[in-house]
């Protein structure tokens, strides 16, 4: 039996149990093996897809090496974001300061790659040795004539969420820089979609069909110039609310751009997102075209889902993802497939997020904040789930336990957003759940025997699937 650490107990709850609150927004417990990364990680993932900017990680080599080509965020043009640049600080610079090296690195890289802007990420050590990032960035910006923006993402200064915030602050320095850009009365910005596997392009296509102008995508297939005129849009449509709401709020305050939180995962949420935008813009034609689009897409996709539902109905799922908003959509999307969610958790959910999860999940569902591998393993076993949805670090937990897995991280190569994405999602889940390989997995055989204690030894192996 895997015990939950004393310091973690308040972050785990069962719906319908004695205490239905989930403590959250806490720093990870030392030694608990959190699945979260750090402040730097939060900033890096948000800014990563801006393809024509230079992303220079100021610090020792690890932080840059581990985030080289880390997301499946595609670009329709330049691909500078897919390179990993580091000042690769050595002991000498840690003692005498890294400003000189930073200045030299920035200068040579801007010269060589001619980016539209540069982001300079501070790692742990920068906060300790006291490099004046601001001053170096300002100097290089003046010399090279492009925005050079420091990102205050020292790893130890909070959690991944603080990294999102630092990224938003950095982005906000670009927003509004294009002073000449004209207002777009029917314009929106897509916030919090990162064009993983081309998802931003799918969304843009929906909006094109609806007659909505997409002013900028922040940050999927992102461009510096586009972000500089993002203030001309009427509405920020915010997915991945955990990371991007801060930017939306700053833009609302400074540029009166309204914002709406949406999700593009699942038919229901995608349709709701598009309707929300159409209704906000208040244009009758747009609304008509949106209805037509949703009708067409749903009637195309829905019948195809039925076949998957037949196989998947009644299976149980576990979800552990970075942001809680994604979890909401997944719970709903799984329900379309006839699957109940028995365990759901996130790295960075807020109290409201967990309240909402509690609302949409069935009695007995385990809800967990900032889980660790052993907790996930325990509940997967306890709840006898058939599927885990998560990222790279969760995958081997599922596989070792003979449980199917669906990648919903940012390295994936399959688009899961939008209408088409729902179909891909069904295929992904189906391909793993229905695979015949599970019948060989000892955990599956064991589980089958556990559930069927009467005379099943001989054919347990084949029945386990």
């Amino acid at each position: 039996m895997i015990e939950i650490l004393e310091g973690r107990k308040s972050q785990v709850m069962v719906k319908g149990g004695a205490d239905e609150t989930v403590a959250c927004d806490k720093v990870s417990l030392a030694g608990s093996v959190s699945q979260r990364a750090c402040v730097f990680c939060g900033s890096r993932v948000v800014l990563y897809p801006i393809a024509d900017a230079l992303h220079l990680v100021h610090g020792p080599v690890g932080c840059a090496a581990y985030t080289w080509d880390i997301r499946g965020a595609l670009s329709s043009g330049p691909e500078l974001h897919r390179m990993s640049f580091s000042t690769d600080l050595q002991e000498k610079e840690v003692i005498y300061g890294g400003e000189k090296k930073l200045y030299a690195a920035l200068s040579e890289l801007i010269e060589a790659y001619q980016p539209k802007a540069a982001f300079v990420y501070a790692t742990c050590i920068i906060g300790l040795i006291g490099d004046d990032l601001q001053a170096v960035c300002k100097k290089v910006s003046a010399e090279k004539g492009i925005p050079v923006i420091p990102v205050h993402s020292e790893g130890f200064r909070g959690t991944k969420k603080d990294g999102y915030r630092a990224a938003c602050e950095a982005l906000f320095k670009l927003v509004g820089q294009d002073k000449g850009a004209r207002e777009k009365p029917l314009g929106i910005n897509i916030l919090g979609d990162f064009n993983v596997a081309g998802e931003t392009w799918m969304l843009k296509e929906y909006y094109r069909k609806m007659g909505v102008d997409v002013v900028s995508c922040i940050t999927g297939d992102g461009r510096v110039d586009e972000i500089s005129r993002a203030h001309t849009a009427k509405l920020n449509v915010v997915q991945c609310a955990g990371s991007m709401t801060h930017l939306a709020k700053m833009m609302e305050r400074s540029f009166a751009v309204a914002f709406k939180r949406v999700s593009y995962f699942g038919l229901e949420d995608t349709a709701a997102a598009l309707y929300d935008v159409a209704e906000f813009l208040g244009d009758a034609d747009i609304l008509e075209r949106t209805k037509a689009l949703v009708r067409e897409e749903v009637s195309r996709i829905y019948p195809q889902i039925a076949a998957y539902r037949k196989d998947l109905s009644g299976k149980k799922a576990a979800i552990y993802v970075g942001g809680a908003f994604k979890a909401f959509s997944l719970v709903k999307a799984l329900r379309h497939l006839g699957m109940e969610t028995a365990l759901v958790g996130s790295q960075t959910g807020s109290a409201e997020d967990y309240d909402y999860l509690k609302e949409i999940c069935a009695e007995g569902t385990v809800i967990v904040d900032d889980a660790n591998p052993l907790e996930l393993a325990r509940f997967i076993r306890e709840k006898d789930v058939d599927l885990l949805i998560g990222g790279v670090k969760e995958r081997p937990i599922a596989y070792k336990m003979g449980v199917a897995f669906c990648d919903h991280n940012h390295e994936r190569k399959t688009a899961l957003a939008g209408f088409e994405g729902m179909l891909n999602f069904c295929r992904e889940v189906h391909a793993s759940v229905m695979s015949p390989v599970w019948r060989f997995a000892p955990a599956r055989i064991h589980r089958y025997k556990r559930q069927n204690p009467e005379g099943c030894d001989a054919d347990a192996k084949y029945a386990a699937c």
Partner: protein
């Protein structure tokens, strides 16, 4: 052969101050992998939460196994007032959650720079727990601004041996320090020892912990790994064989065992290819008093037979090898053995003696051979182009290079993030060379086949 003793190998200077697409990783990663090769060991990275998580993600993507690495999660407060409290809390929570036999501590740039005295924390911690059952705790200093993952790896192995090995009773066993090799390589080494009837302590041995079977019940810590009792007995062993010694600084742990306990020390190149493997087998022979066992002689014979079958497809082809210094030196020697040219030998680590090491161990001087340390993948593009390289041999991070150059890549070493089975790639011993040779030859054939305008179905 087209090799002359005219021009010396070149050592290129780096042209960029920044590192672009690094060809190295940071030292806590190497330490964590080494620690995971010890039975029931949990690595603890003393630093910010991200270090442990990034390293886990990176390592999991290669091994495809659960890899739990704890973090002391030093916060802003810790950075100012010291990370001792968090460090001790982490030790407590690891002990509670995992019941490990060993906690392997690796420091980071954060904890080293704030001046945390881990040794002192450990003394305090041990004093406070006197009388309670406590895991062993060892500590390696691995700030990421010093050296690379290889330094971290060796540092951790060294820390474990120095903390645990005792003079103890003399015994017949040998110590084998394989370096950072694949799980399959470890199994190859183990089976060779067994064939010679040698009892052998391999440290670290993650052949099972990082490449395990499918489980019946979830294991908090995967089975396998070097036993702590065996590490304690290393001081009484007959000999230590240390592989892949190129690129290590300071007194090696094998040299320490010799100085401290008089354990004979053999230092060898990683045994890639016939000649290097023969040298290891000679040592095994000497230590066991037995000739090469039939099974291994058979493997050797088949390997040589295949060399002959495949030699024409690789003769004179220029390869770029990149990765850890010991890996590239061993592979360079192997390539020379099969008639290929190690045209570019590159590492991201600082290894000023790389050129000399290569010159010493290669039989021929290869005109224009580039031996480059302290480099990165972006710099390698121009270097490989200029050298007219036909094939790349190294980890999967060379994928972009191969794609841009339009030449094939044979995946070897660590990491392999874009294929399954990275942990099962073999490089060492006769069977490892066999697998590597087949892969290189077939990759050359496939590339030629794919480039043919008409295609063909016989070689």
């Amino acid at each position: 052969m087209l090799m002359q003793n005219t021009r010396p190998a070149e050592r290129a200077q780096r042209t960029f101050i920044s590192t672009r697409n690094a060809c190295k990783l940071c030292s806590p990663l190497g330490a964590s992998i080494a620690y995971r090769g010890i039975e029931k060991c949990v690595p603890l990275i003393h630093g910010s939460q991200g270090c442990a998580t990034y390293i886990r993600r990176y390592v999991i993507s290669h091994f495809k196994e659960p890899i739990d690495i704890a973090s002391s999660n030093v916060s802003e407060e810790g950075a100012i007032f010291g990370g001792g409290e968090n460090f001790k809390k982490a030790l407590d929570n690891i002990a509670r959650q995992y019941q490990p036999s060993l906690i392997g501590v690796a420091t980071t740039c954060l904890s080293e720079t704030i001046g945390d005295d881990v040794k002192f924390y450990l003394e305090q911690y041990r004093a406070g727990k006197a009388g309670f059952g406590m895991p062993e705790i060892v500590h390696a200093s691995t700030p990421s601004y010093r050296g690379t993952h290889m330094d971290g790896f060796h540092e951790a192995v060294s820390a474990v041996v120095r903390a645990l090995a005792r003079r103890g009773e003399k015994h017949d066993g040998i110590n084998l320090l394989p370096g950072f090799v694949s799980c399959e390589d470890l199994r190859i080494l183990k089976s060779a020892c067994e064939a010679f009837g040698l009892s052998c302590t391999i440290l670290p041995d993650y052949s099972e912990t990082l490449d395990g079977e499918s489980w019946q019940e979830y294991q908090k810590l995967s089975t396998g790994g070097t036993k702590i009792d065996d590490i304690r007995r290393m001081g009484g062993a007959r000999a230590t064989i240390q592989l892949g010694t190129i690129g290590t600084a300071g007194e090696s742990v094998a040299a320490w065992l010799e100085r401290k306990f008089g354990v004979r020390n053999f230092a060898l190149l990683l045994p890639v290819g016939v000649m290097q493997t023969d040298r290891l087998m000679e040592i095994f022979s000497e230590l066991s008093g037995l000739p090469l066992p039939g099974q291994l002689a058979g493997e050797r014979g088949r390997l040589i037979d295949s060399y002959i079958d495949g030699h024409k497809y690789v003769f004179g082809k220029k390869a770029a090898i990149y990765g850890e210094a010991d890996f590239i030196c061993a592979v360079a020697a192997f390539l020379e053995e099969i008639g290929m040219v190690p045209a570019v030998c590159a590492t991201g680590a600082k290894a000023a003696d790389l050129k000399q090491s290569l010159e010493r161990l290669l039989e021929n001087t290869h005109p224009g051979m580039q031996a480059i340390d302290d480099t990165d993948f972006a710099s390698l593009e121009g270097i490989c182009k200029e050298a007219g390289v036909d094939i790349l041999i190294g980890n999967s991070k060379g994928y972009w290079l191969a794609r841009r150059l339009g030449i094939p890549l044979v995946r070897a070493g660590f990491p392999v993030h874009d294929r399954i089975g990275g942990q099962r790639l073999a490089h060492l011993g006769y069977t490892g060379a066999q697998q590597l040779f087949d892969r290189i030859v077939n990759t050359m054939i496939e590339h030629q086949q794919n480039s043919s305008p008409v295609g063909y179905s016989y070689m």
